[in-house]
């Protein structure tokens, strides 16, 4: 079975609430309504042979409406083909049915999407944060969350260790891209004056006996 055929079967099976399959470079993507996603996944698993959920992730299309999406990457080990499902979610009501009952692996993936984006999954057996601690007030992979972080309290077991503080970015972040400056020229030391560079070269930070 090809992903196109599976997509056609899914449209016929569910009817309303499933978008037309879109194809790009041989990859088939379907947009599914948030209340139909569990049924769609169960149908694809049980009748179309998509027995593996390779990935489930949240997406933040910041500035667009609807803001959030959840992408499901399905793979069929028997037919050796992939299919992608997407659910679009409004920021005010980012709630989607859980597929943890279809593939057990979705359990932790959905917890990650909840932790990082704040997308909630209805019917999830254990929907709590997986990377950050319980009580952390932010969702760090949202596009409006700064890379340096925001101040927050540490978990109750670690309060004596202080608070979460915003990281000093030191002019960064530094990243590479085609046509951009190379890894050497973007280093902060490039902006040191000649005297500072000579000083660093002449006195490397070698430990001195106390």
């Amino acid at each position: 079975m090809t992903p196109q055929a599976a997509a056609q079967q899914l449209v016929e099976h569910l009817g309303e609430g499933v978008g037309e399959p879109a194809e790009f470079r041989g990859e088939v993507t379907m947009v599914v309504g948030r209340d139909k996603i569990a049924a769609a996944c169960r149908f694809l698993k049980e009748h179309c042979g998509f027995d593996m959920l390779t990935d489930l992730s949240g997406i933040d299309n910041y500035g667009e409406e609807p803001r959030f999406a959840v992408a499901y990457h399905l793979y069929s080990l028997t037919h050796r083909c992939s299919l992608r499902l997407k659910v679009l979610l409004d920021e005010d009501d980012a709630l989607v049915d859980s597929v943890a009952g279809v593939w057990s692996t979705a359990d932790w993936h959905e917890r990650e999407a909840y932790d990082m984006f704040g997308i909630r999954f209805a019917g999830h057996p254990n929907l709590k944060r997986i990377l950050m601690w319980e009580g952390y007030p932010h969702h760090p992979l949202r596009k409006d969350f700064p890379l340096a972080g925001l101040p927050a309290d540490l978990p109750a077991t670690a309060e004596e260790a202080g608070r979460v503080e915003t990281a000093n970015m030191l002019g960064g972040p530094y990243f590479s891209g085609p046509g951009q400056r190379g890894t050497v020229s973007r280093e902060p030391r490039q902006y040191d004056t000649a005297a500072e560079q000579a000083d660093k070269l002449s006195s490397p930070n070698k430990a001195e006996p106390v």
Partner: protein, 188 residues
Amino acid sequence: MSSVVNTAVDLRAESRDVVVTRLDSAVDWARKNSCWPMPMGLACCAIELMATGASRFDISRFGAEVMRFSPRQSDLMVVAGTCVYKMAGVVKRLWEQMPNPKWCIAMGACASTGGMFRSYAVVQGIDRILPVDVYISGCPPRPEALLEALMALQRQIEHEKSIENLRQDQHQPRLGGAPVRGPIVVQG
């Protein structure tokens, strides 16, 4: 040994099995040559820490081979790797469970400053939660750098006023010792 312990042998004594020294020197000499590390391995630096403990680099040449996985039996915490905020409380608690006197080596860029992880999740230097005695640069540092750091720490320990420190509630290794010119930084 002779360069460390200030001996004053009384040549008039018939028997030469008496050594006169300051108690500070004797205690410091014992402490510096038997640091028991608490391997706080958090990331890839821990691999270099293990290499330092293995036969090729052999940290036992410096008396620090007894890696204790219980904080109550160790006196040198080697923070090797990236400390995230979720782990910070654990590191802090382990540090507080270590009995005095105790020392800390921040091994590598992440433990010293947060390293390349300038982000919301990583503690920007372990010295925000613990007092660090020696910092090692490098990502990760070579085992030689860790040995150099250990030797730098030993040089610090041998100048501590250990007996005076016993009277303090809190162990303050730098109290009363030779003036420390900033933190000790070892180039990895």
